[in-house]
Amino acid sequence: MLRSSQPLTGPNRRRCREDETLLGTILDEGERGFIIDTRSAQAAKQARMTGGGTEPKSSYPQWRRLHRPLERGRPLQESFAKLVEACGDPSLSMDRWLGRLESSRWLSHVKAALSTACLAAQCMDREEAKVLVHGAEGTDTTLLVTALAQLILDPSCRTLAGFQGLLEREWIQAGHPFHLRCAHSAYSHARLKQEAPLFLLFLDCVWQLSRQFPFSLEFGEQLLLSLFDNAYASAYGTFLCNNEKERSLCKVKESTHSLWAWLNRPEEQQKLLNPLYSHNALVIWPSVEPQSIQLWQGLFLRWIRPSQHLDEAWAEIQRLVEEK
């Protein structure tokens, strides 16, 4: 699986030999690959007007292009804000709650993200084909898809260590602009242009996987919540800046502590591990039917609903497993 940003085809349908050769060498003779473009066909076409575009079939004959539009940017931030608002609204009657949930469209985005990741995984696992994923910049929805696809396909990404590695590779080092994206979160009225909860969407999708496959992830909900918190505000330098270059310039490694170091201390790890975990060597294919995708109460209702009884249940599960 590869990822990139959009080709700069532009209005004049520019070509680039080197790019074509690069993509050509990846595939064997006669082999076909898939390009998953996370923009709609129309959006991708329009991108040409501003210098971007898509890979034309004639120049990249071995690649088949699939469009799977995923929401990003301002609309995604709006979706997030609306959902949080609906959750916190005490006046909502049952009558209107589901409508508000729906109109936030957050769960639709979760469904779309999981579906696209499954598509990428299916190309690789079932069709045994290579996949190239990109959107516009290659820093948002692209990473969402590649990271999720790896969780689905690769059991080593589902261990605690493997998951941290996945985050480092596919989000941090891949250059997801955390500083811009995770600025003020849902309550802020300032709708910053660059703010968008892609990382949260990713964590939500991971939570959906953990709910559907309660034995297959070595970590639990606590880790996901912790990552969410730290992406926005952290005592550690892991999620600082927007890319490796900036981190290097700011001397992040020299002047801050790593979140991973903290999380991997044995006392902390204990809290993050999933007591039900048992290594599952197979691919995990989630159901993306609406009934299977649920609101992540642990995050969205974190401060609203009493978690005491659920915490007790979790403690009981841990106790049962430990007793054995």
Binding site: A41, L66, L101, S278, A313
Partner: protein, 651 residues
Amino acid sequence: VENVRLLDRLSSRKAVLGTLYLTATHVIFVENGSETRKETWVLHSQISSIEKQATTATGCPLLIRCKNFQVIQLVIPQERDCHDVYISLIRLARPVKYEELYCFSFNPKLDKEEREQGWKLVDLNEEYNRMGVPNNYWQICDVNRDYGVCDSYPTEVYVPKSATAHIIVGSSKFRSRRRFPALSYYCKDNNASICRSSQPLSGFSARCLEDEQMLQAIRKANPGSDFIYVVDTRPKLNAMANRAAGKGYENEDNYSNIKFQFIGIENIHVMRNSLQKMLEVCELKSPSMSDFLWGLENSGWLKHIKAIMDAGIFIAKAVAEEGVSVLVHCSDGWDRTAQVCSVASLLLDPYYRTMKGFMVLIEKDWVSFGHKFNHRYGNLDGDPKEISPVIDQFIECVWQLMEQFPCAFEFNERFLIHIQHHIYSCQFGNFLCNSQKERRELKIQERTYSLWAHLWKNRADYLNPLYRSDHSQNQGTLHPQIAPCNFLYKFWSGMYNRFEKGLHPRQSVTDYLMAVKEETQQLEEELEVLGERLANLQKSQLGDNKVQSKQQDRSKQLRLSTSNNSLANTPQEYSNDLKSFPSRSPSQGDEEDSALILTQDNLKSSDPDLSANSDQESGVEDLSCRSPSGGGCLPSEDSGKDSDEAVFLAG
């Protein structure tokens, strides 16, 4: 009929060829495949509706919808055959006599003694005694011993000490269907009680001295409070409309010391329609998140569930926190009243959250108090307007509570689902007819078997591994959050999409934890045995053979712990998914347990369920099925459909 195709609801491509059989009690579809020959059994009693659809090139489609939410789509090659099957099923699914029902022919191979014992398992006299009655304030009353006062009530009910026979009979004449106020639940800690009745025949101005005395008697039976609540579970408008028909509700001016309260739960017709709409959403092919959420909201189903729950919470609070008795009624006092009283009891008393206690609760507030099982769930062919998912709603309330309080119930989701299943299946005699009187006339206990005995025998399958009777969640009353709490109500896909294997979490945490618990217990026992041997060894002299046996034991112990792991990592045939309840032939094997094979056998090696799921995890079915165009595995290029569905294989 041969060469019939059974379609998978989610994927029209996944059709299985087989033979369709019709027997006196079941519809059976047997797959053709040489290896598996999987069977799908459906009881006629479960059939809710049959739809003959337009004949296509492939054959004549027949859609069977079941009361347990299973939907079976068949395609019969010949139109003539299809029509025959259709007509037969219509007749079979609408029995006219009770004797046609399966419970009268079902034979679990138990002797007469065992059958009797089965019926004695739940004893309401014991239950009332457990509650603490009869006592200084409450007495048993047999004025209805020949059903002469109220034919839908049981022969024995509990009434306040100061309610004489005269008062009871007088009150019954002033109540719809003669259902006079009687005790449902007594709280011995503070003498508060929950009583139930039907609406008074008050019209606009009618009064009845005895009825007023009856309510006073209820108040006097609780010296700790100087008033009682009267809760009318209907919407105010409906109750007022009833006045024009000579019925209505209690006027606070006429009844001394009552505080009157409406809690608007809609009637059976609204609920029937609500369920219908929700099931339509469930039948949508590849719905978007929007379709689903809007559909769910439009059905209003969760709103109704919440209304019932809120009513139960109100009553539980009145009893537990205020120490005030409550009289509950609706119109006839056998639907909403039953729902609300049983929810309140469940919240108040941890006993009802145990397996036995739950059976007792249903027996008390639903069976004995004359909930009209026959009319509501269509044992026999009857008026479709009487059909309504009343007890289904109660069962769902219990599930919603289980989700909020995972440690508080001794039983698990499967218990609830099986009970719901059997309310409609008519395989056991508990839920037949409309009243105790009718059941006794039919001699149900002598001619059929009790579901409770059956469930009790298999109780290992129904346990909640997280339940501990000494857990803090189980001391006293449950307090569900009242507001905000809309988001706490979830769609119960385990019930309404029960037979769609692809939708549910593939790995059952409940089963796994039960297996863990069992294994822990076995290991503890092993440990004890080893401990004893060690003690003996230390006493006697060390011989080689003794040392050897010790080593053998240790390896046996190791084997115990690793055996489950090896099973878990071995992928297994996914088609052995046994969650589909009716795909078991009840006449096989001794007991109806055959329907529960998934639990008995697999509990010991319950991990095969896990690995079965593991294999499903690598199964392609889930993805390739969902293409609406039914086209090739992967979509064509530039599909460009900007739909929010993002079905990953949309053509």
